[in-house]
Point group: C2
Chain length 123, copies 2
DNA sequence: CAGTATCCCGCGAGATACTG
DNA sequence: CAGTATCTCGCGGGATACTG
């Protein structure tokens, strides 16, 4: 089965492998620079393209557009066209599935907040 | 807890801002392609350079080296030289602080595992 | 074993402009 | 408003080789 020739441990090792590949799977979908930020904005009620762009500082239309497309592919976003005449009106709605990311987001947000405190303490 | 059903919102909005910047802070430290994988390996008991490189498939020595350096700077890793003669022996130990990342890692791992299941179900 | 030194390339992504 | 079209560039990071 396992081949730790030079090192010991077997249990933690397979645990490690599982964690690694699971985290890799997650990061593949959600590890991009903008992905989680977009999901956060969506879950906070920003549904429109320009609104999203304004909310997520620094993102370009091109990137936002591309990012929304594969969020849709990954089942995290649903695109809804409310009006396709004259000035088009579109909404990007967080799919139910995107709510499963909440635990990830809070874990990350908590850690980030705490880390910021830690950094400030060092100055 | 309640979400304003109107298009204008203020509460959720500032919530969104907080989440966004907190998550950005976290991602800044831990959002790199390799960072979390390295932390996982470290927390699983892989302390040696070559061991880490073997465990984390696909990482090059150059990148691992660089990554370990700023993990050290960020207080997540402690470098310990066990022997500096002849064949140098070094250990990279996960700092106490790195354990605070466990919740992030498990949240991500859980989601990744679940996501993989979901994907398989769609085929 | 634990790294460093180079060389090199792709693509992620910024800036800017345009359209139905 | 909601995007698309280009053009451009840096740097993240792979490959390979070398060293104390």
């Amino acid at each position: 089965m396992s081949i730790p020739t030079t090192t010991k441990m077997t249990y933690t090792d397979t645990q490690c492998g599982k964690n690694l590949s699971a985290v890799e799977d997650a990061l593949y979908v959600v590890g991009g620079k903008w992905t989680l930020r977009i999901v956060i904005a969506l879950l906070s009620g920003h549904y429109r393209f320009n609104d999203l762009q304004r909310t997520i500082k620094g993102i370009s239309a091109r990137v936002l557009s591309a990012e929304l497309k594969d969020l849709e592919i990954n089942g995290l976003v649903t695109r809804v066209v409310l009006a396709d005449e004259k000035p088009v009106v579109t909404e990007y709605r967080p799919a139910e599935y995107s709510k499963t990311l909440r635990s990830v987001i809070t874990a990350l947000a908590d850690w980030g907040q705490n880390h910021r405190k830690k950094i400030k303490g060092l100055l």
